[in-house]
Subunit: 338 residues, 2 copies
Amino acid sequence: MQQVSIKDIARAANVSHPTVSRALSHSPLVKSETAERIRQIAASLGYRPSAIARSLATKKTKTIGVVVTTIADPFIADVVSGIEETANDHGYSVFLANSNANPDREVKVVHSFHERRVDGILVTASRVGALYVPLLSQLKVPIVLINNQHPDEPDEFIYSVMIDNIKASTQVMKHLIGLGHRRIAYIGDQSGFQSDTERFAGYRQALDRAGYPFLPELVVHGDGKPEGGRQAMEQLLALPMPPTAVFCYNDMSALGALRTLYGHGINVPDDISLVGFDDLSIASYTYPLLTTVGQPKQQMGRMAMETMLKLISGVDIKANLKVDGELIIRESTAPPKS
Amino acid sequence: MQQVSIKDIARAANVSHPTVSRALSHSPLVKSETAERIRQIAASLGYRPSAIARSLATKKTKTIGVVVTTIADPFIADVVSGIEETANDHGYSVFLANSNANPDREVKVVHSFHERRVDGILVTASRVGALYVPLLSQLKVPIVLINNQHPDEPDEFIYSVMIDNIKASTQVMKHLIGLGHRRIAYIGDQSGFQSDTERFAGYRQALDRAGYPFLPELVVHGDGKPEGGRQAMEQLLALPMPPTAVFCYNDMSALGALRTLYGHGINVPDDISLVGFDDLSIASYTYPLLTTVGQPKQQMGRMAMETMLKLISGVDIKANLKVDGELIIRESTAPPKS
DNA sequence: GAAGGGGATGCACACGTGTTCAAAAGATTG
DNA sequence: CAATCTTTTGAACACGTGTGCATCCCCTTC
């Protein structure tokens, strides 16, 4: 048995298929009794419209493409969750594709989305904006970036949703300085990512405001993952005068740093305070519980999707949305020892 | 400027559009020089075929739907990652939809997938198989379940990929018993889920084989999440004679249990050994590192997708695939104290 | 009673691709 | 040179839906 089409319904109802089409879309053009009768027949036949055929006719697919570096990243997964939810609520379906930060794969994904004629594209945490964005904007389709790592987007078609890194970073530093810390280290990501640059800027700025000296040896770079945090922390502990507090670029780095501290028998927060960034769910289950900056991840996904919906419907909106992070003070920060 | 179609190419090449269609699909029916010339023109015009129109004509969408309870679950995210990768490698795109274990949402998702005419549907960790599977199988589309929680699937259209829970569970128990433990507790999920039932069966079976008594008070139920593990562990510690080792249904539960142990100042593994299940990435960053059962999550996703591809191409295959877990011994298990 | 108007419906076409079949052109064979 | 076969191409239609336009019918109004 094949799929039932509006022609089948038309035959059963003894009308033409345009009438069926209009009846099902509640067009006022068709007599209400006829429409009701048609709808009942449609229901009894288990009719489901073909989104394919509809898309071909209307040139709208009610479909958006989501590019992620990897869905296995808990941060990204949360964002995607927010995207999918709002998309679904508005009758949109999402194509998910992970690029693995692989350029070949990325162009493949763009082509795939193009061929499927998606109505819009969302990109989370793209690390290769430089070559990627122009490729995307060729498609003449709305694009919204989420926490993109490439600073300059000169294109007018590009919109973005980002966390206010500097503000959040400043808050973290205020907290640490308020506790009495003076020797505060920063474990960054690889250089060049916008979020790293901005979080570092907040760090630097807060030091200046407090009138504390900036000590270059207290700034080390990881890779945004636990292993990098581990090594960075080893580096800091090897200093003649280690820091009393460490501000990590993200929770993953903090996790690695924490591991090193365990290994050296250093107590957190009594000996050294530690702060992360992101508030991954893990941060609520480390020992001690991690002080960190909460990003409204799902909400950012929702906002990005809402921005997309507005772009699709042609509403004029702000190009760049900034959202606030929230300092979440748990157990990994305390006043310095002495 | 509109999208360029094969008719545009036909005009430019001074041929008919069927010829273009054949040339682009490398049909032997068209003269090779003509075909080459057409392909060059197509490339120069930046032509991208419309998957929509193609799907309408061929009745195949090269699209599969993936239903997850939530993509924010790290286990599921890994599985999806494996699915997406193999799908992409074979020219398929994936629609992602999370149901939030909400029945209303689930039927909505099924309808959406139906209307989009997906070629197949993958479902991970469905908790409502009872009403869900019949709904899905109406669609006459191949379905593959991954670690589904509903034991009986009487339908012939249903295929599945699961971990061999009993085997893995037995391995865990062998490890603990080998270390010298006799009072081993089991923190389960809510009753009724197949994986919980099976892991418990392995637990029970191993005790019997070792000739140790089964003590009902050592079996408590959580909710598969940290909070449930936390409470379950409190319950165990309140016993007049607490266990010397605890086998948790999954890592999330173990995380909660660990938290309780921290709170009571109980040392892991010196005072109590702890084992999880799943090998989430978190398990590599707890303190102490968690002994657990690794599930080949990405690979299970790949296998499920490969099964799907075979089903789509009509190859006859086994209905139920079982994969082995791998006991990963880290730091949270040791011989009992005395 | 004829003209006009509005409501309800059907016809024809469009969207972009693939496929069957017929036809035209060229090559081969008797 | 005619007949047949092969190669290459185009015409026509299909997929399922939406929409502009014409048509038909019924009601109102003069």
